[in-house]
Symmetry: C2
Subunit: 784 residues, 2 copies
Amino acid sequence: MNEPLSPELLRKMHAYWRAANFLSVGQIYLRDNPLLKEPLLLEHVKPRLLGHWGTTPGLNFIYVHLNRIIKQFDLDMIYVAGPGHGGPGVVANTYLEGTYSEFYPAISQDEDGLKKLFTQFSFPGGISSHVAAETPGSINEGGELGYSLMHAYGAAFDNPDLLVACVVGDGEAETGALATSWHSNKFLNPARDGAVLPILHLNGYKIASPTILARIGHEELEALFRGYGYKPYFVEGDDPQTLHQLMAGTLDQVVGEIRQIQSDARANGFTSRPAWPMIVLRTPKGWTGPKEVDGKKTEGSWRSHQVPLANLAGDPSHLAVLETWMRSYRPKELFDETGRLVTELRELAPKGARRMGANPHANGGLLLRELELPDFRDYAVDVPAPGTVVGQATRIAGTFLRDVMKLNMAGHNFRVFGPDETESNRLSALFEVTDRAFAGELIEDDTQIAPDGRVMEVLSEHLCQGWLEGYLLTGRHGFFSCYEAFIHIVDSMFNQHAKWLKVSRKVAWRRPIASLTYLLTSHVWQQDHNGFSHQDPGFIDHVANKKADIIRVYLPADANTLLSVTDHCLRSRNYINVIVAGKAPELQWLDIDAAAAHCAVGASIWEWATSDGEPDVVMACAGDVPTLETLAAVDLLRQHVPDLKIRVINVVDLMALQSPNQHPHGLSDGAFDEMFTRDKPVIFAYHGYPTLIHRLTYRRTNHQNFHVHGYKEEGTTTTPFDMAVLNEIDRFHLAMDAVDRASRLGSRAEQFGQEIRDKLADHARYIRQHGEDMPEIQNWKWSA
Amino acid sequence: MNEPLSPELLRKMHAYWRAANFLSVGQIYLRDNPLLKEPLLLEHVKPRLLGHWGTTPGLNFIYVHLNRIIKQFDLDMIYVAGPGHGGPGVVANTYLEGTYSEFYPAISQDEDGLKKLFTQFSFPGGISSHVAAETPGSINEGGELGYSLMHAYGAAFDNPDLLVACVVGDGEAETGALATSWHSNKFLNPARDGAVLPILHLNGYKIASPTILARIGHEELEALFRGYGYKPYFVEGDDPQTLHQLMAGTLDQVVGEIRQIQSDARANGFTSRPAWPMIVLRTPKGWTGPKEVDGKKTEGSWRSHQVPLANLAGDPSHLAVLETWMRSYRPKELFDETGRLVTELRELAPKGARRMGANPHANGGLLLRELELPDFRDYAVDVPAPGTVVGQATRIAGTFLRDVMKLNMAGHNFRVFGPDETESNRLSALFEVTDRAFAGELIEDDTQIAPDGRVMEVLSEHLCQGWLEGYLLTGRHGFFSCYEAFIHIVDSMFNQHAKWLKVSRKVAWRRPIASLTYLLTSHVWQQDHNGFSHQDPGFIDHVANKKADIIRVYLPADANTLLSVTDHCLRSRNYINVIVAGKAPELQWLDIDAAAAHCAVGASIWEWATSDGEPDVVMACAGDVPTLETLAAVDLLRQHVPDLKIRVINVVDLMALQSPNQHPHGLSDGAFDEMFTRDKPVIFAYHGYPTLIHRLTYRRTNHQNFHVHGYKEEGTTTTPFDMAVLNEIDRFHLAMDAVDRASRLGSRAEQFGQEIRDKLADHARYIRQHGEDMPEIQNWKWSA
């Protein structure tokens, strides 16, 4: 093994690492005496010891080595920390390089700052044990595991000069999300994109048991990563001096290889997918910590996972071990009398924005450029009269997205994501201007796929979500289309991103980023190809649990409203937008001006479908199929019960239903009462589970009169209209309910009910015989 | 290549495969003329063509070959079909082997049965395009992809004589869940467990684009599976005759290897993890289908994914292509004049329960044996008086689970699952009688881990869930403990399992299986080690969207109620039980008899905490922390406002709140009104998002007077009590709300309010200074 580090540099880097380790231990344990100027006493120690030591020395080791190569090669690099609870390490390093104090001036570069740095960790009102939105340089929360590598790739896409170092924990590597993330290299184009350097950190244990990848032997481990398409380098051992040299030499090698891959591809164009280098770093868990505690092996064991010495109050020997441990880093050599890192170590860190804590890519709002947007009105369906022409909402939206893609092609800052469903979801106009991205082998029969495509398709909702998050967090724009039922696969990732957004709004130095926008289609009412397994509209409920200032939900009823909503979402910042829209050919209701006006207010009375005067009944709807069925019900009622006065309300922005003190989009109580009346029955046809409408309207005056029809978990393989019937959200059930609730009709109601029941029986007979819906259903148009 | 199949057997197997393909195409297209006795006319074709052809011929090919080795080696084998929409193939094969007609006599073995078989597919009221609960021999829905291999391993655990053939789709293989499933071999013990034979079916395309694994080249593909710990065999090509011989020879080889591995391990005990064989089968997508349609390549292309000829009504040439295609299978040679499979082909299928459609493991309720359960009362915490002794609920439950484990050790039918959190969740008593299961390398420092352990720990909620589903679906029992926030990772898997249960209840021949029971702990109110990312109680909301006859949710407030609930859940069938319980030391409320009585009714008045006479205010609670805070609030109120009459209600079975017509556990309206009153204010402290309580009690008389405190998404790194304060579910806020709502207190209420605000200010000061909760909070006990 050659020795790339001079003895001098080796000495300094080792000291820098000791400093980071010292600060990490200090954060876990101390609230006072941060430089150990005095003998350590119990009163210097926090009352509650919370935090995680195990992974931290490895993270610190990597950080100091990355600092060296950043300086050596003038790299534009960010650091993604995947292992759980690596917070103390990343915080320590950003403090040492100065960025932490720049973002948080109270945590100053002196003894007082050190004391605050230590105290705030896992302390009420302080910072969490894992990397989070508050951590400088971070784009990946270290709480829920598994998303580091997909975030890293998302950051690297369209950032040709960026090198994303991604530390993957060996516990994290067991998650499904991470296990498929390695395949992201099949979607990375070295001519156009930046690079990801995965560093698998094998420290052997999760919370309490060994990790899989630490226990499969060298041969399988190497084969696995070669199989994933990487060229693995192994840095293994426990002697720091040896490992410093090995790590430095390996990093010189891999950075050289990455640059070679990139310069080849940029000179000659993409030819074939390279084997990108990656590093396997195997070091002891809790490296440099106490070898033994209470006679039990601690360094290199799962006992180092959290706080290796926890019984400080009860066992004086523990306090002594802690003091010995902390003094083993020789803090006096690292920090001067005032508590500042000594000059020769300060000089090891990169400068300015090259510091990983200060790299603007990790505070993407700083780099965010406005998306160029065409006028969505130019894509409008011509709707001369409501309910007479048929259009395909997502197909129309696809033409708009196509031109968004086209206008921003040169900007390299817009991509569309989806699990192999772009075509199925009718967004195929995108393929007129770009392709699917793929860096694997292509053959003659492949169509609409190329290494420089900008549509990201992979049969993993996790990867779509994670790539997109990484792309957005580094200051770009995107759009995610997905089957409605299967978006639940990323429920937990949604949670984490929503939490990140909530927290980052309160972090003063984080600049707003583009919103994450979902288009959920192939929805619950359009699953005739599939069955019950594809029917679940519950993602909206899941979303509605999150903070109102983060969440927007839209249910456009037709193509023009979808256009308006899509335009609005692409302009928004720091939100998660959920759009649910149909992909099937459907009747169109609003011309583009009416659509835009309707979307601006969120919910409105559709006057053209509404009777004059005070209504007997309000018929409200949200969602494309509920809107169609509501208007068909109104049509039925007009024919059969012509003197029933009906008001039709359509809701496109679901949060308009909430009180304005619960959601910023909420209609004022006055406007709500004006619209929904204070006392008339409201038959509400809603796309999803009915309870959500009750929940949103809970505080409204007329809430007790809301009768919501929606999905009742009655799914099966059947026609679209029969799905509506099974869940009693079809025109017949809606009309019958309206008549039943509008009390004054007497025997007319009974007669009407019998007619409706006959119609339902006709329907049942017809579909059993013909396998499709009755022509009168399929061909119905609005004729008022 | 040797030729293991005699010409005669080869001819027959090929014919059998043709028959399966013919029936598959028939299901997608036809509603009449099933044997093509007449020329094919448009009227024989279904009006809506729905279904998926692409993966089907491969599934059929595998099935006929597995039939052969089942007979040859007398194998006990089930078939897990992973690729999406493989329904027609599995249905066709179970029909050919006779099981389909046994389960569904109307689908008889004659022309009339064939006609019905064809018509029902993707037809209203019929069967879905993917494998489902209705499909004989299935334990894996083919709708949402990614779970086949984890289901297969779950089935193989503790089934030493079972060989689970698992076809993994190459699209499916891109999902996170599947990508980590390959590592399940590190948890399989050949001495004790059965075997899984993964067959990766590379047919090149997903819906519209190539799959990753089809495009990484042979070398990487082989390395990947060697890295995953398998010994891959490749069966590749498009000539059926060649592939029949190759597949047969390969299956002979791999079955031999599997038996060798098993006999070695069973003779000598487990020594080291073997490299289990697996097969990579690469065949054209839509194999044997039309080579071209409209001049475009179809067989071997993504165009074969769904219905390769869709325009039958509009283009007569399509009808002709379809007829030629179907006649290419030479149905006259396959079926006799009555429509029955000819005798020489019928004889190819295994007999009786050896048929994969009839294997009882795929209808696990048939094999289900009762769990031996100790008397949960024997584990009770002694509670001489409410709220005076401290206990740790999950630690106590751990002792009960330990003895469940012990009693059923010989039965080999109980396992506990969790993502590396058994110890963290305080279930460590289990390790007194068993270990974690692991077949990877073990070293000296490892503890409580062994190849024959029965606690399944892996840092993947997906694997825990999928293994457990597979284990339950094949007739065994299990228990899943998980951090509450991260159970959202399997939201979508939960959905699919709930849907499976709902459907299988209606499938007459499916016998009830053991319920899937979650213990969610390390919950939202106990995250001082962690932070906001670990705080999410929304899984209950997600669960509550599913059908009431499947779902049970329990919030035991202490150890004895947890014991009673756990016992109940382990006895239940066909449910999904969610138990949320704390792991921290907490005050205990009920002795074991009171706990059992309380759990039996689901919600009851806690008389010992309730004032005599008509209440001024009802204080209700559900969950351990809400219960503690409610009782502490009652204590405060007694001291400060002694004449306020308070009724305390605890809810342990959340579904008791719903109306009995919505959930079978719902209290009658009379009992509910009796308990919650018809008109008194109800201050309800609830573990999760408050809206759920409104939603559940929506139809109750007194609903308008419910004031629910719960999690408001105000999470951070802080003390447990401060978390309660941030969300206003702490004793101070609850007491203040009770006083505010109980109108008659006048100026006393104002004074009390001021006292409470002072206390909150004290609290805030104290934790900022000390980093922990005030002693009066930490040490509070019930003293009434």
